[in-house]
Amino acid sequence: MKHQEKHKIYWRKNLQYLSILLSIWFVVAFLISIVFRESFDSIQIAGFKLGFWFAQQGSIYVFIVLIFVYVYLMNKLDKSFNSDEDKG
């Protein structure tokens, strides 16, 4: 029973991380880079229009950060729930 409770909390926490990170993913890839691209294009930094930059450069950097943040959060979660594979 105790195991089951722990797993439930673990899974809920995981889903919470997922929903936050995937929302960022959606905003950057689909809203900034595509849907509202033209409004963001009115901002120019150096030679880049912002919407265009996100579509061809920025999104990719954000994607990398998202994965590494997820890895960090999950490794921490695994430790705190002692579901670390090395010990398990």
Partner: protein, 566 residues
Amino acid sequence: MNIFAWTYIIVTFTFILYIGIAIWARAKSTGEFYIAGKGVNPVLNGMATAADWMSAASFISMAGIISFSGYDGSVYLLGWTGGYVLLALLLAPYLRKFGKYTVPDFVGDRYYSQTARVVAVLCAIFISFTYVSGQMRGVGIVFSRFLDVSIDVGVIIGMLIVFFYAVMGGMKGITYTQVAQYCVLIFAFMVPAIFISLLITGNPIPQLGFGSETLNGGYLLDKLDGLNSQLGFAPYTDGSKSTLDVFFITAALMVGTAGLPHVIVRFYTVKKVSSARISAGWALLFIAILYTTAPAVAAFSRFNLIETVSEAEYDKVPKWFKTWEETKLIKFEDKNGDGKIQYTGPKSEIENELTIDKDIMVLANPEIANLPNWVVGLIAAGGLAAALSTAAGLLLVISTSVAHDLFKKGWKKDLSEKKELLIARIAAGFAVIIAGHFGMNPPGFVAEVVAFAFGFAAASFFPIIIMGIFSKRINKEGAIAGMISGIGITAAYIIFFKFLFPELNSTENWLWGISPEGFGTVGMVVNFIVAITVSKFTPAPPEEVGEMVEKIRIPVGAGESHEINA
């Protein structure tokens, strides 16, 4: 030394390297053959995944496509990288925890159904063959352009090399060769990119040079917008596709990427669940080096091209122009007879006289920019590395599907490991030959079927794997109905516009303005809806399945027992 000699030396050197690695890392068991014995370091796995993923198309064609389409080309950049976020967050860790060899394994077990497994196997084989034929063709083209042999001879050489290390080494051999191939291809892509960035903007980092001023003043992208408009093309940073279509294509490519079997299977090769997560991160990082450079190369080469050829006198064009004219990748027809090259877009009143193949932007770039001969030699080696590494990964999926999913799990459950390994090797051998055949006699629709591969992966694998992990209620009836309706609607749409009525293939006729390339997204949504609805009205999956899902969700060792919680 001339270009030819350099190319021979560099290509021969890399081939010896790949064969050496294959001998060193040959597979001795089915575990090693299918998933490299689960012992691959996550960073190396990331590199191998990157090479596996980046095909001849990424290396040779992508920068060119972006160069000619400007903003519209973003769909490939976003789609083929954003998919890794889905992989890392939604698929890789759970499939690794599941711990068997293939995607059909998961589908068959989770949906406790032989039918579901067979549908999955057929999808996997179809997707992989589509892809691998394109790779073999790519190998042949690189050979014929740089090494002066016919395309067919090029394909045969490519077949022999892949045969050697895929059949002998299996996943283990492939993984370590792919690591080497990644190094070769990224070096080959970056060196000319850095040179050209320096040449045009004075900044050695292409990602920054992209947004810098050119040496004659004025921001590169602003100048490109101006040049494009002046010649009657859509402005470079604007593009001409509708926002909705860009949205759907991007989504289909992302979801398709996350559903491609040869990418997913890479995450079975690492030791732990946490390694599966991090290796998706490394893979994307390694891919991003090329994918953030490609749009910069696209802009540089567009600028270079227009500056060199627009209104130039045909008699005085540089040597590369004539060389590539011979290969028919550049065609010039002096329609108004003024002896000058008019290169214009659809919105211009002046008739266009120049057709340029998109591949030329990467292949001829070093020559256009007057780079040293050894750099040109590198491009050939890089293109071959990209094509061979992807081909090998795909061939493995095909051989695993045949030996493991069909033979072992299908009709001969008592197959010994030794026999299974033999069948896997024979299947890989056959797959090489069939792929080579398609490489030599490409069906006219190779480009068209690529849309198929992504659309299929998006409409079939992605939804049922996601539902298999995140829901316990989806049952076999739902999964099978979902897969079939998702694939069915996607296939129908693509076949209608690409094969039956290609003349109707334009925005006015598309459903809600979605192109066939983007329709996989609709197929995915249909799959989800059908699977959920059908599952609601049919009996829940058996209790063991609920237990299995519970286990997949938690990284800890599979030995633990769980109470059922359905």
